[in-house]
């Protein structure tokens, strides 16, 4: 399936501020194919996270258009956009953002629980056995022995592994990763990235990876560079 997963047209994001409006994105047009891995790089504050949020439909652009899975996002309200993501989109964040009061296993089961409301779709594992699925994914990221540990009992690298498991457990069509190694040391970071690409390949996931690390970006099939809100 070699169709387009995400397409944007002249994306602009401005933030109203006292005095002058702050322009974060000034016309970004890009296209990402299904199954492709894409890196977005740029210096800190160049608007990478903002762009990622727009691509995932977390927010709406000031002007310009986004198509996710071939569907226009403008005109959809927050909940409709959320429903589009349900089970089809995974996230990995720089600071992990695991739920503190849930164990590793419960964190990974969360997306499965959320998407039970939906009719089954191809990406989704069969109903029932959620716990089994979550266990398996955690084993794949090497945390089979830490199922009942809480986030604060895990190291940064281990937390990010749980986050990876959580992101891939629904076999999403697209995975958005925002500087997933930003809070980790080099070695651990490499392990996480290896794991990330391994899982991406295994599940044929479209990957949108935001990073400021050029060597990392080089491992992706496509590379966009953001400079002052525009693609360079």
């Amino acid at each position: 399936m070699n169709n387009t997963a995400i397409q944007t047209d002249n994306l602009v994001k401005t933030i109203p501020q006292a005095g002058r409006d702050l322009q974060i994105l000034r016309g970004v047009s890009l296209s990402i194919d299904s199954g492709e891995s894409v890196a977005i790089t740029g210096t800190s504050g160049s608007g990478k996270s903002t762009l990622l949020g727009l691509l995932a439909g977390l927010d709406l652009p000031t002007s310009g258009a986004v198509q996710l899975f071939g569907q226009h996002l403008d005109g959809l309200d927050e909940d409709q956009r959320a429903t589009m993501r349900l089970g089809k989109v995974g996230f990995v964040f720089q600071s992990f953002h695991l739920l503190e009061n849930l164990t590793a296993l419960e964190n990974v089961m969360l997306p499965l629980e959320l998407s039970t409301a939906l009719p089954p779709h191809p990406g989704l594992p069969p109903q029932g056995g959620k716990e089994q699925i979550a266990r398996e994914v955690l084993q794949q990221v090497g945390l089979g022995e830490r199922l009942s540990h809480f986030p604060n009992q895990l190291s940064g690298g281990e937390q990010q592994r749980v986050a990876l498991a959580r992101a891939f457990v629904t076999r999403p069509q697209i995975l958005f990763a925002d500087e997933p190694t930003g809070n980790l040391d080099r070695t651990t970071g490499h392990e996480i990235i290896d794991l990330l690409f391994a899982l991406q390949e295994k599940f044929h996931t479209t990957l949108v990876l935001v990073t400021h690390d050029d060597t990392l970006a080089a491992r992706c099939q496509k590379h966009y560079r953001l400079e002052e809100g525009m693609l360079a």
Binding site: S49, T50, L52, G53, A56, L58, D59, E78, D79, A82, T83, M84, R85, L86, G87, K88, V89, G90, F91, F93, S95, H97, L99, E100, N101, L102, E106, L110, P111, E113, L114, S115, T116, A117, G156, D178, N183
Partner: protein, 817 residues
């Protein structure tokens, strides 16, 4: 559903959830405990009120009733009976006891039944159709105990001697056993004349009872209403029931309102915990939204969780409240009797409502914030709280508080007043706490402490002091008012203040009694007393209906006591006009009654005294000290104006050690009733003590709620403190040093709150005493001391307990993201 339940269970891992549950449970417990208790008392009273009359219709008067009424009832085919009751002394050997004598005719009671026992500890039996035989009396167990007699022994009443045959355990129309001080003695009506106890001026209540077919009773009622004299009154079931209910509802409401302080404090705890709960959930919700959770799902998830928590709290609170009300009933058993019926289930519902209102009003705004969290935040470094209109939060809060007040008072106007009072009170506390903390800052700086001033600066410290001081304040206030006022009231009485009232002294007994008392060295002054009803003011007839004021209506319905003498009463103060000179006529009135019934100097009053009219002009106004232990009168007529109107005399005497002469006195003057004030004061005192203990019990909950708020406040600043401790550790502070700081901080804050509460309780107590009870101001440092010590201990322990885990925080944690 299963999923929602699952999430709810997972939330229990957060301490905030447990606190939320605790806060809600405390408020539901106190609301339901009091609710259950008052509903039991209400049920008891209603059951009693149903038999209260002893008939379907009762004609009641302070004067003997015309037999024509009875005959008319019999003509209609109704059953009839008669009762006459009045206080009288019962004597056996050298023991005396004031009793409530009740003489009844043969058909009594027409409704309800009498229950008796062979001896005070023997089983109770229904006495079907039986009454005391001629020459016999039945009496309540208390009379047996006070006189030290057994069943079958002799008891003297007036000029007759009776055999005390049985113990009276229940009679249907017991007038008001809530405050009945004297034991009831039941006798045959035919025996009454021989006792010579009843005279035209006795304080007796004459009743004619009718029972039968409802239609006929109604017909009689209509006929009687046309014929009745102003002093005669028809009592029906509905009327009695509603007045009893009103009184009860009012006192129930008062107790209910006493619980509100705890509920409002618990509300503060709910606000604190739900806001820190929200802060904790914020990132989670943002992540979940990024993963595709909709706003509706977020709302459903959290609303479900909160409601389930409320439900759980309600269940726990209702169960606890149910258990606690037994304690309350036990505490107040002297008031309400031992055998209360089961409570109704309504209080459980209002407990649940309380929990839901608390949650909706205090936690809902936080929940809405959560729902509106943008998932975009998760990509930006810092998580800001979604902006939320402060007005929405405040509006929800105020609405909830008002709702709670309304729920408890069931009275919109009262709720409004309380609401305003509450806001003003909290505002006052807030300002005072702030000022107090500012003061400690200044003092701290003087002491060259860098640590004390920093304490007073945080807004949380103010909150903590306010909340805790409120809890302690109510408790301390009650303690001071209770012990202090009662003690000081007795102190204000001079040692030779009269300790016994003698009433019902017949005209013929005046001279011999004066001689008798003088013979024993007892100073006395006997005042004549007639009972009259005010019928005209300035020639215009007056009716109870003319007045809106309930007290005015009651005064006009009843007869009140008039006297007539030459010497100005020493315990009164002349406010207007002049006291009677030789040969002058006129009335001297008490200030209060003039104000209530709107008459004063120069107005012409007409009284109906047993059918004779007495008219005169008001020539002076007096202020009366009712607690002077002297006979006091609303209206005093110029000497000689009472003529031959039926009168008795009244006096108060100081007996002190000469108590023993009472026995002799009663022998010689059998109709004289002696009222031992000391005994009554002691009894009233113990009643007041018990009642205030119960209220204090409720305020203990206020304190508990205060502690919950305290913990909630501590919990909400835990993250901040964790950072602070890590920083201090990285700078080289040891555990001992940290421990000292934590203890120091909370002991000091607690002491501040306690002293503030003590100060306010002292002030309020003094103001109460000064304005309500005419007592002198007094500086008693006890509340300050108690407040300071209790406050610092409670806050210190709670604070340290809550933060003890943080001592193990590693400075390393600062390095984690």
């Amino acid at each position: 559903m299963k999923l929602l339940l699952h999430h709810w269970l997972q939330r229990w891992r957060m301490p905030e959830m447990r606190l939320l549950l605790l806060a809600l449970t405390v408020s539901v417990t106190v609301v339901t405990a009091v609710g259950f208790f008052t509903s039991r008392v209400e049920n008891a009273m209603q059951a009693q009120a149903r038999q209260l009359l002893g008939g379907d219709l009762v004609l009641s008067s302070a004067r003997p009733l015309d037999d024509a009424y009875l005959q008319r009832g019999q003509q209609l085919g109704l059953e009839t009976a008669q009762t006459i009751s009045f206080p009288s002394m019962a004597a056996s050997g050298d023991k005396l006891q004031l009793s409530q004598l009740k003489a009844v005719s043969s058909a009594y009671p027409l409704r309800g039944e009498l229950k008796t026992a062979a001896a005070p500890d023997a089983p109770e039996q229904a006495s079907t159709g039986q009454l005391p035989a001629r020459g016999e009396i039945w009496a309540e167990a208390r009379l047996f105990a006070e006189l030290g007699v057994k069943a079958g022994e002799q008891v003297q009443l007036g000029r007759s001697t009776f055999k005390l045959a049985r113990v009276l355990t229940q009679e249907p129309d017991r007038s008001s056993n809530l405050f009945q001080l004297a034991p009831v003695v039941l006798m045959n009506l035919d025996d009454l004349p021989a006792t010579e106890l009843l005279s035209p001026a006795s304080r007796a209540r004459f009743n004619q009872l009718f029972a039968g077919e409802e239609k006929l009773v109604k017909q009689l009622q209509q006929e009687l209403e046309l014929k009745l004299k102003p002093t005669e009154r028809i009592r029906t079931l509905e009327e009695d029931l509603s007045s009893v209910q009103q009184t009860l509802q009012r006192s129930g409401r008062f107790l209910g309102l006493a619980t509100l302080l705890s509920v409002v404090l618990a509300g503060a705890a709910v606000v604190l915990t739900s806001s820190s709960l929200m802060r904790r959930e914020l990132p989670a919700v943002a992540v979940l939204k990024a993963m595709g959770m909709s706003r509706r799902q977020v709302l459903r998830d959290h609303a479900f969780s909160l409601l389930l928590t409320a439900l759980l709290a309600a269940l726990a609170g209702v169960a606890l409240g149910f258990v606690l009300q037994f304690g309350l009933a036990e505490w107040l058993s002297q008031f309400v009797g031992k055998d209360l019926p089961a409570p109704s289930s309504a209080p459980a519902l209002s407990g649940l409502l309380t929990a839901i209102i608390l949650l909706l009003g205090f936690a809902l705004p936080q929940l809405l914030r959560l729902v509106n969290t943008s998932p975009m935040q998760i990509l930006q470094g810092t998580l800001q709280r979604p902006r939320q209109s402060v007005w929405l939060v405040v509006a929800c809060l105020l609405l909830a508080v008002f709702g709670l007040l309304w729920l408890q008072s069931r009275d919109l106007q009262l709720a409004g007043m309380l609401f305003a009072g509450l806001l003003a009170g909290i505002g006052l506390f807030w300002l005072l706490a702030k000022a107090f903390l500012r003061l400690t800052q200044v003092v701290g700086r003087k002491l060259h402490s860098r640590w004390i001033p920093s304490l007073g600066r945080s807004r949380r410290a103010v909150l903590l002091v306010v909340v805790f001081a409120t809890g302690l304040f109510s408790l301390l206030l009650l303690t001071t008012v209770r012990t202090d006022l009662l003690n000081r009231w007795q102190e204000t009485l001079p040692p030779d203040a009269p300790d016994n009232f003698l009433i019902n002294i017949q005209p013929a007994e005046v001279k011999p009694l004066e001689a008798f008392l003088a013979g024993h060295g007892v100073k006395t002054h006997l005042y004549p007393m007639v009972r009259g009803r005010l019928v005209e003011i300035n020639g215009q007839p007056v009716q109870p209906e003319d007045y809106e004021n309930q007290r005015a209506q009651r005064l006009l319905e009843r007869e009140f006591n008039l006297s007539s003498f030459a010497e100005f009463p020493s315990s009164n103060a002349l406010l207007e006009g002049k006291w009677f000179k030789q040969g002058e006529t006129g009335f001297s009135i008490e200030k209060g009654i003039g104000e209530t019934l709107s008459f004063g100097m120069g107005d012409k009053l007409t009284f109906d005294i047993a059918g004779q009219r007495l008219s005169d002009t008001v020539t002076s106004v007096r202020e009366v000290r009712w607690d002077s232990m002297q006979p006091n009168f609303f209206v005093i007529a110029a000497p000689g104006s009472l003529g031959d109107m039926p009168s008795t005399h009244i006096t108060s005497i100081h007996l002190g050690e000469k108590k023993a002469i009472v026995t002799d006195m009663i022998r010689q003057f059998p109709s004289v009733t002696v009222i031992d004030v000391a005994a009554i004061v002691a009894q009233v005192r113990s009643l007041v003590e018990q009642a205030s203990m119960a209220v204090q019990g409720i305020f203990v909950f206020t304190l508990i709620a205060g502690v919950v708020v305290l913990i909630a406040a501590l919990q909400s600043q835990k993250a901040e403190r964790r950072r602070e401790i890590a920083i201090l550790k990285s700078l080289g502070a040891g555990r001992a040093e940290l421990r000292r700081r934590i203890w120091g901080e909370f002991l000091l804050l607690g002491a501040l709150a306690g002293v503030l509460a003590g100060l306010l309780a002292l002030t309020a107590g003094n103001l109460f005493g000064y304005y309500l009870f005419d007592l002198d101001m007094k500086l008693d440092l006890m509340p300050l001391l108690v407040g300071g010590v209790v406050g610092s201990l409670l806050v210190g322990v709670a604070g340290f307990w809550n933060l003890r885990g943080l001592l193990n925080v590693l400075p390393m944690s600062l390095l984690k993201a």
